[in-house]
């Protein structure tokens, strides 16, 4: 009961302080700015965005076509007669003479051609959808049907073509043939409905669709039926924008929390709070609670406002915890405001990329599921996701948040909060504090076990980054980076022990610590693999990242060898040899991967 009372008291203080601090001076101006924001949004919607005005120069001999091009701000159009144009073709990105378009051949000219092509397609669509006989203007409709394959990720690494060599005869299915009734030749939607949908998809705002157009002709609104020009992998652009609407307020609120933690540290203001008998856990929970509730309330309000399914909130919860946990650590680690700004900008960029980029591939590839935001996109699109999907994309966020909160709570003490050391030594102190002095080996074991989710996050990020490079490069880069990251993380425990007390690291203790590291790393790896990542781990990429589930002693030996190399170079050469040790360990790791997984050295 005591803890609950403490938490509510602190939460109440936090709210009261923020409210009084904010309302006195900022509220009036905030309201004015909010009204201005609405006005400016209205103005911008009316006048359009003018970021790309005048990118291209076009020369045209026909007034009708000049008008068509001039309706697009990106063109500066000159209407001249054909001969003049012919002589001055170099001055233009494109010229249109007697109804034929010529590009200049430069990159800008090529891009201008693409733009003309899209503008012209839009124009013809406008003409065609006005026709009374819609099916004379749009005689071909396509009904795309998705077939689920059992072999998902495994066989389509980076979109490679897998179905062997083309045979002379038609392929014969091996499994049982399911009878599929021939589809009906009629469209299930009436002509007028189709016309209305076509008009709507054409009216879609050009400012944003400018970018989507080059990828697909917007989320087709014509139900499932598409005209050929609409047939492209759909980029869920509307949903992606909505995601920013969701993430941005969360990011903002976590900034307030970060600042509140930082404020406790300025001029030792938090000393009073620390001198009370309230536990660090209660203080942090109490301080975080108002922000957590606020973020949930914002998300709920947005969901209601967008009339979206409440299921959207489920994947957002771990993201909220993740933001709060990182805000706590950043607020506790930074020495000054500028450091706070830079670290938090850096964190938010990395986190946003991790969340955002995979979700671009929401409809295309299962890899997108490593981001919880993909689940939100799927929900917005009306596709259901399974509990397995949820576990797959959110478990890393849950676990890392929990670990970070633990580190924060353990270190929420006077000597940590008010110290003025540099960022890296401070982080080392934080880790050292989280380790038990009495059971150093157990601590190293646990530290490595709990580091696994972070390792996976970084490695998955690399996977996303390198996934689209051509095949051999992506594999090589991924292999080197994965090895480097693993070796770095494994060295954290030992390095911390070394810096705390270099005398502790006798040869016997060194070997024991290395063993604890290897076992901890392996245990964490296997455990997490079993729970979640089966989809990716089965592929070649996965085998490099996470090692196979098969034989245990080989990877154990590898982990041991890697960390042993680092520890030895530390012990023998001191701090300066650390980088060398890491490099050597990475090389060993890569060679191991090459030999056992890819069999290249055999």
């Amino acid at each position: 009961m005591g803890a609950v009372a403490d938490i509510t008291t602190i939460a109440r203080w936090e709210v009261k302080r923020t409210v009084t601090q904010m309302s006195r001076a900022t509220l009036p101006l905030a309201i004015v700015l909010f009204i201005l924001l609405i006005l400016v949004t209205g103005f911008a919607a009316q006048s359009g965005m003018h970021l790309q005005d005048g990118m291209y120069v076009a020369g045209v001999d026909d007034p009708a076509i000049a008008q068509l091009l001039a309706s697009d701000n990106r063109f500066t159009v000159y209407q001249l007669n054909g001969e003049v144009l012919e002589q001055n073709r170099q001055a233009f990105d494109i010229v249109v003479i007697r109804g034929t378009v010529y590009g200049s051949g430069s990159e800008r000219g090529k891009s201008a051609l693409k733009t003309v092509e899209r503008d012209y397609a839009k124009y013809t669509n406008r003409v065609y959808s006005r026709q009374d006989d819609l099916f004379a203007a749009y005689p071909l409709w396509i009904d795309p049907v998705n077939v689920k394959s059992e072999l998902d990720f495994l066989s389509t690494q980076s979109g490679q073509y897998i179905s062997a060599r083309p045979a002379a005869a038609a392929p014969i299915p091996e499994g049982e043939v399911h009878t599929i009734p021939p589809p009906s030749p009629a469209l299930a939607i009436s002509r007028e409905e189709l016309r209305a949908e076509l008009a709507r998809s054409q009216a879609a705002n050009s400012q944003i669709s400018r970018y989507t157009e080059m990828l697909s002709s917007s989320d087709s609104a014509t139900g499932r039926f598409k005209t050929p020009s609409q047939l492209s992998p759909p980029l869920p652009f509307d949903s992606i924008i909505l995601i920013f609407v969701f993430i941005f307020p969360l990011y903002f609120t976590s900034q307030f929390f970060m600042m509140s933690i930082m404020n406790e540290r300025i001029e030792r203001k938090g000393e009073v709070l620390l001198s009370t008998p309230v536990s660090a856990g209660s203080i942090i929970t109490g301080k975080a609670l108002p922000y957590l509730l606020g973020m949930l309330a914002i998300s709920a309000a947005l969901t209601v406002y967008l009339r979206a399914s409440p299921l959207i909130i489920l994947p957002l919860v771990p993201v909220i915890f993740f933001f709060l946990a990182n805000a706590l650590i950043i607020g506790m680690v930074s020495r000054s405001f500028k450091e706070l700004s830079f670290v938090s900008i850096f964190f938010s960029t990395v986190a946003t990329s991790y969340l955002f980029f995979p979700s671009i591939f929401a409809n295309v590839h299962v890899i997108s599921l490593i981001s919880p935001l993909t689940l939100i996109i799927l929900t917005l699109q009306g596709t259901a996701y399974t509990a397995g999907d949820y576990l797959f994309s959110t478990s890393l966020f849950w676990i890392t948040s929990a670990v970070l909160f633990y580190v924060g709570v353990v270190n929420f003490r006077e000597e940590r909060l008010f110290s003025e050391k540099r960022l890296v030594p401070r982080l080392r102190e934080f880790i050292a504090e989280s380790m038990s002095k009495k059971h150093p080996f157990l601590s190293v074991f646990l530290l490595n076990g709990f580091a696994i989710p972070f390792v996976f996050m970084v490695q998955l990020m690399c996977l996303v980054l390198f996934f689209n490079l051509p095949m051999p490069y992506s594999l090589i880069l991924l292999m080197v980076f994965a090895a480097l990251i693993e070796e770095l993380v494994k060295s954290i425990g030992i390095t911390t022990l070394f810096f705390q007390d270099s005398a502790f690291l006798s040869w016997k203790n060194l070997v024991l610590a290395c063993a604890a590291t290897a076992v901890g790393f392996l245990a964490g790896e296997k455990l997490l693999l079993l729970i979640t990542l089966s989809q990716i781990t089965e592929s070649v990429f996965g085998s490099i990242l996470f090692l196979s589930l098969g034989v245990l002693w080989l990877p154990l030996l590898l982990h041991f060898a890697g960390v042993f190399v680092v520890a030895c170079s530390l012990k023998l050469g001191g701090k300066r040899w650390f980088a060398f040790g890491i490099l050597a360990a990475t090389v060993i790791h890569c060679l191991y991967n090459l030999y056992f997984i890819l069999g290249w050295l055999q």
């Binding site: 900022t26 099916f135 009878t179 047939l231 900008i345």
Partner: protein
């Protein structure tokens, strides 16, 4: 105001930044974003325009054609991208799910000149990159077939669009607009935003760490202190923006008029930086100042973007090389706004300085 005092303050802030190594993070951030943007380029291009990557072009995809014969079948058979097999629908779809085929097309018994449309059913694999590529390749063939059908039914149309003949070879240039029309202006302008967030930190820090009194007791006046900090932030802008442009050029993106772009962004950045300084002077507390400033910045940027020939648009035009004399008009306007804000900052700083002296 003595320049020596300004440079002392600016130097102090620089050494603070270097000492904390936070500037390293900023550089790391730039690299990271550059990496991701190149990822976006390669990834998205290969996905949505597979022909742009040669590695896909050598593949011939197996597809099944089911249902009634049509001109479409001929087009498919003529295409270098596909091997077409005439099959029954059920075994074809099963073979597709076993990945023996890349797509299955079913064409119904609808005459080309019928009143009703021709409805083709296209089966592809779910969540599969290969399907995305096959879709793009099929799209072109479908478009040709659609054109044929439209010609057959042309008599029923009441209005024809103005004809325009596009060149047959239209490859390339896909991401030109994305890179030059969005990425470059955004990246080049980002240092200005970072610098304006930084000035708030620098000023509020003096208040919240109560180091102000010490600083005021030196010969440096309060206004000089503020301008020294502005100078430090301002100097960071061209350096960072230049680093961006350098990175982009190294990545093989040709950029014209680099010096002019840096000139524009340097003068433009005075506006957000001075806005930040004013907010910080007014609130003297980071949370409130940052909150108000970021909201104000969104308003200002949104408003600017809605204006034709805005400084960001100018960056785009300079980068592609289509900017004319109007750039000097824009620059003059930006300098005028900056000068107004400078006067306001000077007045405010003097006022605050007097308060400190008397109080």
């Amino acid at each position: 105001m003595k320049f020596r005092h300004l440079s002392i303050i600016a130097k102090k802030e620089f050494s603070g930044l270097l000492n904390e190594r936070t500037i390293l993070l900023a550089i790391l951030l730039q690299l990271f974003i550059a990496l991701f943007s190149s990822f976006l380029m390669v990834g998205l291009t290969s996905m949505y325009d597979p022909s742009s990557l040669s590695k896909y072009s050598r593949f011939r995809y197996n597809i099944a054609y089911c249902g009634n014969d049509s001109a479409l079948k001929e087009y498919l058979e003529k295409s270098p991208d596909f091997h077409v097999y005439g099959m029954d629908l059920s075994p074809a779809v099963t073979a597709l799910s076993e990945r023996k085929l890349a797509a299955v097309i079913y064409v119904p018994d609808t005459a080309p000149d019928a009143t009703d449309p021709v409805k083709i059913t296209l089966y592809t694999l779910q969540n599969d990159l290969q399907s995305a590529i096959v879709n793009v390749k099929l799209k072109d063939i479908f478009l040709t077939y659609e054109k044929d059908l439209r010609t057959i039914r042309a008599a029923r149309l009441t209005e024809q669009p103005v004809p325009l003949q596009l060149p047959a070879n239209r490859s390339g240039g896909d991401f030109y607009e994305f890179v030059y029309g969005l990425l470059i202006p955004l990246l080049v302008f980002m240092p200005a935003i970072i610098a304006s967030a930084l000035i708030i930190d620098l000023i509020t820090e003096e208040y919240q760490h109560e180091t102000l009194e010490t600083l005021i007791s030196t010969p440096v006046t309060f206004a000089e202190m503020v301008w020294g900090k502005v100078l430090a932030c301002e100097l960071l802008v061209p350096v960072q923006a230049g680093a961006w442009l350098f990175l982009l050029i190294v990545n093989g993106i040709a950029i014209e008029n680099v010096p002019l772009m840096l000139l524009q962004v340097t003068f433009t950045s005075f506006v957000p930086i001075l806005l930040g300084a004013l907010t910080a002077l007014h609130y003297r507390e980071r949370t409130a100042a940052q909150f108000i400033f970021s909201t104000a910045l969104v308003v200002v940027i949104l408003f600017t973007l809605a204006l034709p020939a805005n400084p960001l648009n100018l960056l785009t035009r300079l980068a592609v090389g289509t900017a004319g004399a109007e750039q000097w008009v824009v620059l003059a306007g930006v300098i005028a706004i900056g000068a107004l804000l400078s006067v306001a900052t000077q007045r405010y700083a003097e006022k605050v300085g007097r308060e400190h002296q008397t109080g």
